[in-house]
């Protein structure tokens, strides 16, 4: 029996390869690094991510596919790769002092994070359901452990086990969906699925399969009604892991979501666009309303991340070139903004004692004016105020929706943004208007956290004031 050898083109998967190799080097380095030098493993990880980002950039415009059409290096995937690498690098900058303060500074932390990044890159550049699934699992398995990384803290363990059980549960649905789509079309390759569906009409089996695929993606990006794990997991996991999960997983999973639905299943668009529109409305509304009720900043940002998933889903419903590029821009804007917000929350913590209740932020502006300003900028950007990145992102997504005749969806999105202003401004009011709480004296912001915060805030402002270059890059990101 002849077996076809796939065309091995390592250049296409260079970013994922570099990240994987870095993870292995860090894992080996962990063995020979004395306890007080563990932070060098963090720097090494960041160096690997920078090299991977350069590799992704050197592939820009290559539009090459390899491994029998299983992986592709198109601008869409590369843009997401860059976003993911940026989010991982900023998260590691935040993590180095954080895990030291919490006495969990082991090299495995960076190894798991890098392994997850490799999975995300694979998922964002995959053009075959098998590879998408592989990336999804490579992304998820290390995150289950990272969520439970604070082993002494029962809340962290609880977050880990909840994330694991619901994640495994959702991947079973996702797999069943893939199996049914494979049965209906005879292939797992996205391009061949699209070709096969263009010729023949759909079957009930195909519709069920596509529905289950959507459930699997909805779990990963936390769409209502598949979101209930999000607040608990984001609340219990170490704050730096939450920061990383809330942005990078979304970028990777939405990448595969867009690629699968917009590229492979346009033949069924009539059906899934309606479902996605309903999910978007539910997700935005429930995320924002639930965020109103939270007194804990991490839980509030968890619900806010659910709401943002809803906004991005609008871009999928629009199903146009503009929708795609607006989603890419939004994911980048959301990444820097949310990491900035989490970075500020980490900066305001007192060593191992974190300030996570909104009332704990009272008077922060007097003690830490710069951190308070950074948090304010990031929260305003999340709420969608000009001239910050979040405003441009929302503007592009709602614009894409209006263009394609989904104006009512854009109107609901705008109304939701108005609601969100209330809860985003609550910490700001506490910081600027209240008398300082006890225990602010003597807190120093770690230099690395300050650096990450500076990068994030500059990006938020730059993407808001000069969005044109990033929009141009995102607009080049058409799926091939």
């Amino acid at each position: 029996m002849p077996i076809l050898v796939p065309d091995i083109n390592l250049r296409i998967i260079a970013p994922a390869l570099i990240v994987t190799v870095t993870a292995i080097v860090v894992l080996l380095g962990e063995l020979v690094t004395p306890a007080e030098r563990k932070r060098w493993l963090g720097y090494l990880s960041i160096a690997g991510l920078v090299v991977a980002a350069f590799a992704a950039f050197s592939l820009w415009g290559a539009n090459a596919s390899g491994f029998s059409g299983m992986v592709v290096a198109d601008n869409f995937g590369l843009f997401l790769t860059l976003t993911i690498a940026l989010s991982a690098a900023l998260s590691i900058l935040l993590s180095i002092p954080f895990i030291h303060a919490h006495e969990i500074d082991q090299g495995e932390y960076y190894v798991l994070l890098l392994a997850s990044v490799a999975g995300m890159i694979v998922m964002a550049t995959a053009t075959d359901l098998i590879v998408i699934f592989l990336g999804l699992e490579l992304l998820s398995l290390p995150l289950y452990i990272l969520a439970a990384f604070q082993r002494e803290d029962t809340r962290s363990l609880e977050a880990g086990i909840k994330y694991f059980l619901l994640g495994a549960f959702s991947s079973a649905f996702f797999l069943y969906g893939i199996a049914l789509v494979f049965g209906a079309t005879g292939t797992t390759n996205l391009a061949k699925i699209a070709a096969s569906l263009a010729q023949s009409a759909g079957s009930p089996m195909l519709s069920i399969g596509v529905g289950l695929l959507m459930v699997g993606f909805a779990f990963k990006v936390a769409l209502v009604p598949f979101h209930w794990w999000t607040p608990d997991v984001y609340d219990g996991a170490p704050t730096t892991v939450t920061a990383f999960m809330s942005v990078a997983v979304k970028a990777a999973a939405f990448g595969a979501f867009f690629r699968t639905f917009q590229f492979a299943l346009p033949a069924l668009a009539l059906d899934w666009r309606a479902v996605a529109a309903v999910l978007a409305v539910l997700t935005m509304t429930l995320g924002n309303v639930a965020a109103l009720l939270q007194s804990n900043v991490k839980r509030m940002l968890a619900y806010s991340s659910i709401a943002h998933a809803g906004y991005i889903l609008i871009a999928l419903v629009a199903m146009s070139a503009n929708g795609l590029s607006s989603a890419l821009f939004y994911l980048l804007a959301y990444t820097v903004t949310n990491l900035g917000a989490f970075g500020a929350v980490i900066a305001l913590s007192d060593g191992a004692r974190e300030r996570l209740e909104i009332k704990d932020f009272a008077g922060a502006a007097r003690e830490h004016p710069l951190v308070a300003l950074a948090l304010t900028i990031c929260l305003l950007s999340l709420a969608g105020f000009p001239p910050f990145a979040g405003f441009v992102g929302k503007f592009l997504i709602f614009g894409a929706a209006v263009e394609t005749g989904w104006a009512w969806l854009a109107v609901i999105g705008v109304l939701n943004s108005l609601v969100s202003v209330y809860f985003y401004l609550r910490p700001v009011v506490q910081m600027y208007m209240s008398e300082p709480a006890e225990g602010w004296s003597g807190i120093r912001v770690a230099p690395l956290v300050a650096l990450a915060l500076l990068i994030a805030v500059i990006s938020v402002i730059a993407l808001g004031v000069f969005p044109a270059p990033a929009i141009a890059l995102a607009a080049g990101g058409l799926i091939r």
């Binding site: 098998i130 029962t154 609880e158 086990i161 797999l175 069943y176 893939i178 049965g183 005879g186």
Partner: protein, 106 residues
């Protein structure tokens, strides 16, 4: 030859049994077992489809079988991580009942 439908029905029943186990049981290990059943249902589907549905391209397409192997590997990796987490939580809480693991509201 046994028709394809029979395999699909067996797989669907197995999937539903696993789903019921994952939703109805409160023991984390039992939930994990339910999830494994769901994954095995997928494997039956994949191999049956591979055998019965002619691939779109007339090559020796092994996608279904290879995919089933991937799923088996994943199930092993998931079990390893899941059991490690369950042991960790048993050490700190003396329980593997998910209803008792409720420091945060669901």
């Amino acid at each position: 030859m046994i028709p394809l439908q029979f395999y699909l029905i067996v797989a669907a029943i197995l999937f539903c049994l696993g789903l019921f186990g994952a939703l109805a049981r409160r023991n984390a290990v039992a939930i994990l077992m339910g999830i494994e059943l769901m994954l095995n249902a997928v494997n039956i589907n994949l191999v049956a489809f591979w055998r019965y549905v002619k691939p779109a391209a007339p090559t020796m397409d092994l996608a279904g079988q290879i995919f089933a192997l991937f799923v088996v590997t994943l199930a092993a990796a998931e079990a390893a991580i899941g059991l490690a987490l369950i042991i960790a939580i048993y050490r700190s809480r003396d329980t593997v009942n998910v209803e008792d693991v409720d420091l945060m509201k669901w």
